[in-house]
Each structure stands twice: as structure tokens, then as C-alpha cells.
């Protein structure tokens, strides 16, 4: 399902192609399920802001229930849904938002502008050669979660 505006990827080669073919732009990859409420909210924000950020970013959705995608779920260590991962020129971009996991954004955004600010911060950092950037949002707008190491 997912948004009508954003492509939904269900196969590994589709995800590979999308990551490899997005050059000099931030590639936003959302892992989630269409029936999840938080995913729906996030999809709405992503769809509405995709045009605004089209000059420096592109967005795609990944269905976590697909079999071929499980390797990515293991590779990216996705345990909480939804999870948004950022790439730039096929390189993973990390963001320090004060959460335990810097490799992805867990949860939804409170507004369109927050998402745009995050993508812009990642783009600026990537253009300067930084693989990890600081989150421009205030702590109260960042969703909190607990990360367990191997269920410990």
C-alpha cells in the first residue's frame, strides 16, 4: 500500500537500484507497514514534503513484510517501526538526535517542517563530507524509545 505518490519497494533489487541511482541527493528510505498508524502518519508527512525536497532529496517506502527485504532488516537492524534511514551517494548517513540509535530515525515527525529540516541538515552535512550530522530539532520533538542489545 503506502502512499500513492511515493514508490513502495518490495524487492531487494529495487531497493538496491534506488540507492545506487540516487546521486548527489539524500535518499530517504522508510521501513514500515502500511497498516501501522505511526507509519501512516509518517507516510503522510513524507508524501506532502516530497515535492518540497525534490531538489535535494528523494523518498521511497519499503514494505517490511516482504521476504526479500528481510536481509535489509537484519543488516540495518530494524526492530522498531517505522524506521527511516538516510543515504547519500549510496553511503549511509547517521544523525545524532540524542537517541540511542544514530543510524536511523525511529517514529514519525511532528510536522512537515521538522522532516524538511532533518533532511536539509543531512544534505548539508553530506555536501561537506560528514557522515554523521546533528539533529536540528529540539529534544521535545524527537520521539524517544529504548533500545535493547540482543533483548537484554
Amino acid at each position: 500500500m503506502g502512499s500513492a505518490l511515493l514508490p513502495t519497494l518490495r524487492q531487494k533489487r529495487e531497493v538496491d537500484a534506488a540507492i545506487r541511482d540516487t546521486l548527489d541527493k539524500v535518499f530517504v528510505l522508510r521501513f514500515g507497514r502500511a497498516e501501522d498508524a505511526a507509519c501512516l502518519h509518517l507516510d503522510d508527512i513524507l508524501a506532502k514534503s516530497s515535492w518540497d525536497i525534490s531538489k535535494f532529496a528523494s523518498v521511497a517506502l519499503v514494505d517490511m513484510d516482504s521476504e526479500e527485504i528481510q536481509v535489509y532488516i537484519d543488516y540495518f537492524d530494524i526492530t522498531l517501526v517505522p524506521a527511516t534511514i538516510f543515504f547519500f551517494n549510496a553511503h549511509h548517513m547517521k544523525m545524532d538526535s540524542g537517541t540511542p540509535d544514530h543510524t536511523k530515525w525511529i517514529g514519525s515527525f511532528s510536522s512537515k517542517q521538522d522532516f524538511i529540516d532533518v533532511v536539509e541538515a543531512i544534505f548539508r552535512g553530506a555536501m561537506k563530507g560528514k557522515l554523521i550530522v546533528s539533529c536540528p530539532l529540539p529534544p521535545e520533538r524527537i520521539p524517544r524509545f529504548q533500545l535493547l542489545f540482543k533483548d537484554v
Binding site: K12, R13, D16, I19, R20, D21, L23, D24, V71, D74, Y75, F76, D77, F87, F88, N89, A90, H91, H92, M93, K94, D101, T103, A126, M127, K128, G129, K130, L131, L147, F149
Partner: protein, 423 residues
């Protein structure tokens, strides 16, 4: 008796010094400080140089290296002297600098900030100088009017500023005195400035002079003023000329003009007329089409774009590519994945062209990812993951290869073997 402690002078309130741009509570002592003296020493000569430029340019008439400033800040009175009237530039500044208010401001400033009252005269314009300047202005305006009645054609100097009142007077007097049948429509035509009036010289477009023959190659009028001779034109020709001027068309009467117009060198015996309208027309370049005027309302392209089309220098520039395209391609080479992006872009271009591109990705390709619990480099974490993936695959294959067989006891094996033996 213990002596009373010396009474401290009452603390001066905080004051703001405009020169140093900060508050202080030193009172009058502040102006003897080193910083303040340095600032004063820089500010006064700066104003004096501006004043001397103004004086030199306007009062004595000698050309200065720079045109008079359109506005002048008077630090003594804190006034910005802006000249709104272009006909008499810097008049506001001159009148202010000669006024009593300015004199009072200068005295107050020097009294407050130090510097000596002997500098007052060097920081203002005297009344004598103002009177001299006014006289000069009057003589300029009357002299231009009388001068045209004597000459067949005026000099090209006043034509530089099309907004100059004397210029308009010139054209009107020509119409009255030399070409009775000449229409004044050209002088009333208000065209947008097509060439700068700041002293820059631009080469004349050859199209403008095509009708005038090759003789004008040596023509060196500033701003490309185009001259139209009067004496070679009979009264019959003036109508054609009238038509030319009213429609801003040169080429329309090209052959006729050629026939009646001998080559005229720039310094030839026949003085040429230049009109304010012609100054604009000569630089219209491609805007010399016959018919209705090409302007914003008719939807014509602006003249600077047309001029650029015919400019050979611009052709060269355009062949190199638009500046915008070059800027977008110049991405930071230190950006993340720059080498990867260039390689991938080259591969994609080869694929578009249909060339064979070796397959660089397979089903096991994974992007560069820094793990959540990463302890080494990203490559190491990727290798670790690939190893665990292989192990996981091997295990799953191993499990699939095991067949589940039913349990056969030794007694059953013996019984089967005996039955086979008896057979």
C-alpha cells in the same frame, strides 16, 4: 586630625561618543584618549577629501577622476545630503555645507570631540565659493542656449546626459533655427536608457552606421552618437528624416540616405547633429526594425539582449555553456560518496548510450552502513554481517540436506537380511 580623603569628582554619567561608537563615563577626558584621537584623525581628513572632490568638480569645473557623489553624509550635522534634482548635481550638499547650520554643527563637533577650532574653514564651503558656483551654473545654462544659435551644429559634449535640460533646449533650437520643417517629435520621444551615462564607452553597432556608408568608420563620438547632417538634406529630405526619427527607423531609408549622404568623416567640415533620441537609437542594435516602436508594450525583447546576440564576444561565452550549468556541476569534491557518484554517473551514461557496462552489483550487494552496535569501520561491520549471513545460509542449507529417516533396529536388519538369504 585625619585629613579628609580627597573628594572624588562626581562620577560623570554615561555618554555615547559617535566617533568611537561606544559609551564611556570619562566625561571630557575621553577626547584625549588615544583611540578617540585616532578616530578623529581619520574622520576629519576623510570628510575633507570628499569636500575637496566636490569643490574641484563643481566649483572649478575641472574633471575629477570620479563623478560627483550622489549623496554625502555630513557627520557634523548627522544628515545625509541626497541630490534629488539631477539637473544641478550636488546642489543640496553645496548649500548645506555653506549654511549656518553646518557651521554651527562643525563648531559643536570640534568643541565636543577636540581637534582645534582652526579647522572650521576647511570643513565647510564659503559663501564666495557658493556665489562663484551659482554664477558658473547660470553661465552654463545660458551659454548652451546662445551657443547653438551660432553654430550649425552643436558640440557633442552636452549630449552625454540626455536628462540634461540644455540638451533638450539644443534640439528645440535646432528645430527652430536650422530646420524649420523638422519635427520635434524626436526630442519628445522618451526612450529608456540603452547605454550607460557614467562615462563608459561602448563601440558603436555597425548596423547603425550602415546607412551612412563607410566614412563613419573613423567616427569617434562618445556613446555612439549618430550624426545626421543638415546641409546635405534639402527640404524634401527633411520629411523623410522626420519619418525616420518618428519611427526610429534607419534602414528604412537606407538607399535613399546613401544616395544623398556622402561619407562623412568624424572630423569633417560638416558638423553633425546629434539628438538625445539618437543617442538612444544608436545603441538599439537590433531594435532598428521599421514599423512600430519595439518596446515593452509591444513585447519586444530588451535591447541589451539583442545587443548581446550580435556581440561576437558573447557568442564565445555562450558556446562555453551557460554559467548556471557550470555552477551546478561544480559540486564539492569532498562530499560524501563523491567518487562513487562520479563512477556511477559514468556507468549510467554508458548505459544510456547503449554501451556494455560490466555488472558491478549482484544480489549480495549491500550499501555502506554503519551498524547500530558498530565497533570498527563500516567495511568491517559489513564483512561481519556478510559472514553471519553466510553462516546462516550454510546452516539453513545443512538443515535442509538432512533427511529424516525412520528408526530401524538391529533385529529388523537381521530379519531382513535372513529373509533375503533364504531367497
Amino acid at each position: 586630625m585625619p585629613s579628609e580623603p580627597a573628594k572624588k569628582p562626581p562620577a560623570a554619567g554615561l555618554e555615547y561618543c559617535e566617533l568611537c561608537r561606544h559609551h564611556h563615563d570619562l566625561g571630557r577626558r575621553h577626547r584625549y584618549g588615544r583611540n578617540h584621537r585616532d578616530k578623529l584623525g581619520a574622520a576629519l581628513p576623510r570628510f575633507r577629501s570628499k569636500l575637496s572632490d566636490l569643490r574641484r568638480a563643481l566649483l572649478h569645473g575641472s574633471p575629477s577622476s570620479q563623478p560627483p557623489r550622489p549623496h554625502l553624509w555630513c557627520p557634523f550635522c548627522s544628515i545625509d545630503l541626497v541630490d534629488l534634482d539631477d539637473r544641478s548635481p550636488c546642489s543640496n550638499a553645496i548649500y548645506h555645507l555653506a549654511s549656518g547650520e553646518h557651521l554651527k554643527g562643525v563648531k559643536d563637533f570640534l568643541r565636543k570631540h577636540g581637534g582645534g577650532m582652526d579647522q572650521v574653514d576647511s570643513l565647510r564651503i564659503s559663501e564666495d565659493e557658493v556665489a562663484k558656483w551659482e554664477k558658473g551654473c547660470e553661465s552654463l545654462s545660458t551659454g548652451a542656449k546662445t551657443g547653438t544659435e551660432e553654430l550649425i551644429g552643436p558640440s557633442l559634449g552636452p549630449m552625454k546626459d540626455i536628462q540634461n535640460e540644455s540638451t533638450c533646449d539644443n534640439s528645440d533650437t535646432f528645430a527652430r533655427t536650422n530646420i524649420p520643417s523638422f519635427s520635434n517629435t524626436a526630442s519628445y520621444v522618451v526612450m529608456p536608457l540603452q547605454n550607460p551615462t557614467n562615462g563608459a564607452y561602448h563601440p558603436i553597432s555597425t548596423e547603425c552606421h550602415g546607412a551612412f556608408g563607410s566614412g563613419n568608420a573613423s567616427y569617434s563620438a562618445p556613446y555612439g552618437t549618430v550624426g545626421l547632417p543638415i546641409t546635405a538634406w534639402g527640404s524634401a529630405e527633411t520629411h523623410k528624416q522626420q519619418g525616420v526619427l518618428s519611427t526610429n527607423c534607419f534602414h528604412g531609408t537606407g538607399p535613399e540616405m546613401n544616395g544623398h549622404q556622402p561619407t562623412i568623416p568624424g572630423n569633417g567640415p560638416r558638423p553633425l547633429i546629434s539628438f538625445a533620441a539618437h543617442v538612444q537609437q544608436s545603441h538599439s542594435g537590433g531594435n532598428l526594425s521599421c514599423g512600430p516602436k519595439a518596446n515593452v508594450h509591444t513585447g519586444a525583447p530588451p535591447p541589451w539582449l539583442k545587443a548581446n546576440e550580435h556581440d561576437p564576444n558573447n557568442l564565445l561565452l555562450r558556446s562555453c555553456g551557460a554559467p548556471g550549468e557550470g555552477k551546478s556541476r561544480k559540486l564539492n569534491p569532498k562530499r560524501v560518496g563523491a567518487a562513487w557518484a562520479e563512477r556511477r554517473r559514468a556507468e549510467m551514461e554508458m548505459q544510456k548510450r547503449g554501451e556494455f557496462v560490466p555488472e558491478t552489483s549482484d544480489s549480495s550487494w549491500l550499501p555502506n552502513f554503519g551498524g547500530v552496535w558498530q565497533s570498527g569501520t563500516r567495511k568491517e561491520s559489513k564483512k561481519d554481517f556478510e559472514k553471519t549471513l553466510e553462516l546462516h545460509d550454510k546452516k539453513s542449507n545443512h538443515e535442509l540436506s538432512l533427511e529424516i529417516k525412520p528408526y530401524i533396529s538391529k533385529r529388523m536388519v537381521n530379519a531382513i537380511s535372513q529373509s533375503l538369504f533364504h531367497i
